[in-house]
């Protein structure tokens, strides 16, 4: 049941609980309990909104920063990650296999704000060896949702 609930709300977290229960063929209370429990267990970690900020006309800059670090003795990468993710400007931090260690995504109001954060806060952390900042020019798809496209129903309206 959990997997089925998650599959539905992953794409639409605003779905009406009553409707979700109907669609899964169970009581509403069952869905509610499962959701509460999964929230408590931190399986569901949050409900966010996918926004096309470009359309709002608000300046926003997103950067993906490749970070190389020296792992701290006894702590491995986790301690370093913690020092990075505690900054509220930081959107996500992933430990990555390959040529660098962390992928950090960052949102700021302007290029200057982002580069300031990188040069003054991120690079100055002890464990950081190097950073490489990649600015996002255009978002095509986010969280499985295609941003630009709004598809019309092109099917013939009545077919046997």
């Amino acid at each position: 049941m959990r997997e089925k609930i998650l599959t539905f709300i992953e794409k639409n977290s605003r779905i009406d609980l009553k409707e979700l229960a109907i669609m899964l063929g169970v009581e509403e209370a069952v869905v509610m309990n499962e959701l509460e429990q999964m929230e408590a267990e931190h399986i569901i970690c949050g409900y966010h909104t996918i926004i096309d900020w470009d359309k709002v006309g608000m300046e926003k800059v997103t950067a993906m920063i490749e970070v190389r670090v020296t792992p701290q003795r006894g702590m491995g990468f986790d301690k370093v990650a913690e020092r990075i993710y505690n900054y509220p400007e930081v959107n996500s931090v992933y430990l990555i296999s390959g040529g660098f260690d962390f992928m950090v995504t960052l949102e700021g109001k302007s290029l200057r704000e982002v580069s300031q954060f990188v040069s003054e806060k991120l690079s100055t952390l002890d464990a950081i060896l190097s950073t490489k900042t990649n600015f996002i020019l255009k978002k095509y798809k986010d969280h499985g949702t295609i941003i630009a496209e709004q598809k019309k129903d092109e099917r013939i309206q009545m077919t046997p």
């Binding site: 089925k4 599959t7 539905f8 409707e19 109907i22 669609m23 899964l24 063929g25 129903d153 099917r155 013939i156 309206q157 009545m158 077919t159 046997p160």
Partner: protein, 390 residues
């Protein structure tokens, strides 16, 4: 000038849907639930394989019966999903949609006067194809109280010495009815007893919401008297690719291939390459779509229950078939008024045979948002009808 037309073709009526289609397409902000194809796009990896085949310049005819690789995959698929085994070499024919398979199966099997049993309500093409193949259609009227399944008694009652072929359209469009194994066993017994053949149209086989679909061809003694028809349109959301297939005894497939060879040459090459990918790596896509349809199906059943609209619970395809007899209107009148009053388009049950009178077909190949809006409007419509406002 002489009459340019064949006497047979002019007796065949065009589909009854046309007139509603014309109204709907003129109407602004109408919601239509009249579509008989999936709302999903063909999964990307399948489309990509089609594109790749074009890039590679695979733009030639394939052999008449279809790409060997595809036929092998079809054989594997049927064995894996439905426990029937067909030899790719001689027992499988790749066609232009299931539709072509229906047509050429009838042409390959019927002599003038042979009777073909067609359970209705059902898809619109069986009867015309039978007539065009010089067969004589004999309609079996399925009943709501049997959940629109075909019973052995109904079958037995329709058989005459001239009966040759039984069309078995399950999971069913428009009713959503399915036939479970026990139902099929009863039918198989009668079929064998009277030495009939079966044209089993299983195009919706992946869309069942109880147990896995069972094909009558998998029952003892039935493979040699069954033409199994299936395809990619509904299961993989590939309607526009026009690809289906027929499987059956080599003697029949051989003659069908002959007609196919002269009329069609071969099924579209691009589609065939894409279909190989669908069969190899598409199970998960199908499962996802099935889950989604099932949710919508439950939602519609719930809404009908709330508004007190009688509807048997269908377990297949993506249609529900509610009964509108309480309003004392014909299906045609109901559909026309619903369209005018609330701008919701559905298909009258009579489009699928006269015994569809008193029913409407609602497709749930639409997003939940669309279905919700449409159900609100239908609820408003029947509330008005019941309170005598209309």
């Amino acid at each position: 000038m002489r009459d340019p037309l064949s006497k047979t073709i002019v007796t065949i009526q065009p589909s009854g849907i046309r007139k509603f289609f014309d109204i709907v397409s003129e109407m602004k902000d109408a919601i239509t639930l009249g579509v008989g194809e999936p709302d999903f796009d063909t999964p990307w990896h399948i489309r990509d394989e089609g594109i790749y085949s074009l890039e590679k310049g695979r733009t030639f005819y394939t052999s008449n019966a279809g790409l060997k690789e595809l036929k092998i995959e079809i054989g594997r698929y049927l064995a894996r999903r439905y426990q029937v085994s067909y030899d790719y070499n001689g027992e499988i024919l790749v066609t232009v949609g299931g539709s072509e398979a229906i047509d050429i199966a009838m042409r390959a099997m019927l002599d003038p006067g042979d009777e073909v049993l067609i359970p209705q309500p059902s898809y619109v093409s069986y009867e015309p194809c039978c007539i065009l193949a010089n067969g004589k259609p004999v309609i079996i009227e399925l009943k709501a109280e049997n959940q629109f399944r075909l019973t052995a008694e109904e079958l037995e009652a329709a058989i005459t010495p001239k009966t040759k072929l039984l069309v078995l359209p399950f999971p069913n469009n428009p009713t959503g009815a399915i036939m479970e194994k026990a139902d099929l066993e009863a039918i198989a017994e009668v079929v064998i007893k009277h030495d009939l053949f079966v044209l089993s149209d299983e195009i919706y086989s992946e869309l069942t919401y109880t147990d896995n679909h069972v094909t009558i061809a998998s029952l003892p003694g039935m493979k040699e008297r069954t033409i199994l028809i299936n395809g990619f349109s509904k299961s993989y959301a590939m309607t526009g690719w026009r690809l289906g297939y027929a499987c059956g005894p080599e003697v029949i497939i051989k003659q069908m291939t002959k007609i196919h060879q002269f009329a069609i040459m071969c099924a579209p090459t691009t589609s065939q390459y894409a279909a190989v990918e669908a069969l190899k790596n598409g199970d998960e896509d199908v499962a996802k779509m099935r889950e989604e349809y099932n949710g919508r199906r439950r939602y519609l059943m719930h809404r009908f229950k709330e508004m007190g609209l009688e509807c048997f619970e269908p377990f297949g395809a993506f249609y529900v078939f509610p009964c509108i007899k309480e309003f004392g209107m014909t299906s045609d009148e109901f559909v026309t008024e619903l369209l005018q009053a609330q701008k919701v388009a559905v298909v009258p049950g009579t489009a699928f045979g006269s015994c569809g009178e008193g029913f409407i077909r609602i497709s749930y190949a639409y997003s939940l948002d669309v279905l919700k809006k449409a159900m609100d409007r239908i609820e408003a419509f029947i509330t008005d009808l019941r309170s005598g406002k209309k």
